[in-house]
């Protein structure tokens, strides 16, 4: 308590550090001694201001003070406003738009814009489709190459043909097989395209009850092959042949 009371004078002359002010004010609420002293000591401190000789004020001072307040100190404020205006160009644009367009018209505009974009997109898409159709119409399917396929081993009686078709820029392979032995359960015939000893899967098929089967395979661009081989696979989706070869180009 004693320590706190010592701070009374410092508090009165406003020399108490910020962090000590609040604790002292709390102390003041409870300390009768400080309460009884503060008013008269504060008045004494303020009384010191009377120790002044009154001086005549220069006539020109009033204009200088008023100019200082209303001219010199207005300028930075205005400059600040200008820079604010620059900074908030987008906000002003937004404001202008807000003033010019009601929420309803903004909604209507948005719908129209979205509709327009939609129409444009459909139009472009349609044009692509038409171009594609025209291409097709303009470039009839041609047989580039044909292969004879002969059965062997368990499919000794089977035969077939394969055609390499060119349709515009697309190349596809059509394989037609006859007299194929029936397959059991998971068993499938798988077509392989051979090039330099590498095998490329070209699809699987199951023959119908008469032993006929057909498969088409769209070749990847610039893909070429030398031979066609067909294996009987125990299950589909093999990337490399597991079963025995039953047919091939002769």
């Amino acid at each position: 308590m004693e320590n706190k009371c010592e701070n009374l004078s410092l508090y009165i002359i406003d020399e108490l550090p910020e962090h000590e002010k609040e604790p002292f004010e709390r102390h003041l609420k409870t300390c009768i001694h400080c309460q009884s002293e503060i008013d008269s000591l504060q008045a004494t401190w303020q009384m010191l201001s009377y120790d002044v000789e009154e001086t005549d004020v220069p006539e020109s001072l009033k204009a200088e003070v008023m100019d200082f307040i209303f001219i010199e100190n207005e300028t930075p404020l205005q400059a600040q406003e200008v820079s604010n205006n620059k900074q908030s160009f987008l906000e002003r644009l937004k404001l202008i738009l807000t003033i010019q367009f009601s929420p309803l018209s903004i909604g209507v505009t948005a719908v129209l814009v979205i509709g327009l974009i939609g129409l444009l997109w459909i139009n472009l898409h349609l044009r692509d489709t038409i171009t594609a159709l025209e291409n097709k119409a303009g470039s009839p399917t041609k047989i580039v190459k044909s292969f004879n396929l002969k059965g062997q081993d368990l499919a000794g009686l089977a035969n077939g043909n394969a055609y390499l078709l060119k349709e515009g820029s697309d190349t596809s392979l059509v394989v037609k097989l006859n007299n194929m032995p029936k397959t059991n359960a998971d068993e499938v015939y798988q077509v392989w395209l051979l090039k330099n000893g590498n095998r490329q899967n070209a699809g699987t098929l199951k023959p119908d009850q008469n032993g006929n089967g057909l498969i088409t395979y769209r070749l990847p661009k610039d893909h070429s092959f030398d031979e066609i081989g067909i294996t009987l696979e125990p299950n589909p989706d093999n990337t490399q042949p597991q079963g025995q070869k039953v047919m091939g180009t002769s």
């Binding site: 009374l8 008269s40 009377y50 004020v57 220069p58 003070v65 209303f70």
Partner: protein
């Protein structure tokens, strides 16, 4: 709007609402006091005094807080603003000069000047005379403390350094000085009051 009939408090309220004639009215009422006070704080430097007066009225103009009579007399509020601005101004100058120099000689000159002032003022200002009377009862270190602290704008720790005394000594000297002044002042006037 007739600002002449408004109270100080009402004028401040008008100033908060950017009413320029209210500021001019406050200027007319208090500029002499503020000017004289600042002139003493700047040791007679009229250029610095002008700057302080400008800042005081700028502070009044830009004030966003309404003055409340609960805070004490308006004139005391105004003078504490003036004193704070003057101290800021003086301290800035001191920083520019690099060091805070002990001005015991300067203080002595100041005191002589004040003594002259007192002689001139006795008949003019009774309160001031009484204050001077009270001050005369102070010891020299106590008088020096008040002048350096109140008018010189020095902090207590700066004064402790100047006087080469521990800060605690200066703090208790301040307390003793204020109490002594109060007691003599009470004797003279029958109570500490601040009025025109």
């Amino acid at each position: 709007m007739v600002v002449k009939s408004k109270s100080d408090e009402e004028l401040i309220e008008l100033i908060v609402q950017n009413h320029r004639p209210a500021l001019e009215e406050l200027y007319d009422r208090y500029v002499k006091l503020i000017y004289s006070f600042s002139l003493k704080m700047t040791k007679g430097d009229t250029e610095k005094t002008k700057e302080i007066v400008q800042l005081v009225f700028l502070r009044l103009w830009t004030t966003k807080r309404t003055y409340s009579s609960e805070k004490g007399k308006f004139v005391n509020w105004l003078l504490s603003i003036t004193r704070n601005i003057a101290i800021d101004h003086i301290r800035k100058e001191q920083k520019h000069q690099g060091t805070v120099q002990l001005e015991i000689n300067e203080w002595q000159q100041m005191q002589d000047q004040q003594t002259d002032d007192v002689l001139q003022q006795v008949s003019k200002n009774l309160l001031k005379q009484q204050l001077q009377e009270a001050k005369r009862h102070l010891s020299e270190p106590q008088q020096r403390l008040i002048d350096l602290l109140y008018w010189g704008g020095y902090s207590l720790s700066e004064i402790a350094e100047l006087e080469q005394k521990p800060l605690g000594t200066i703090k208790s000297r301040l307390h003793q000085t204020l109490k002594k002044l109060r007691n003599y002042f009470n004797e003279e006037t029958g109570g500490v009051r601040h009025g025109k």
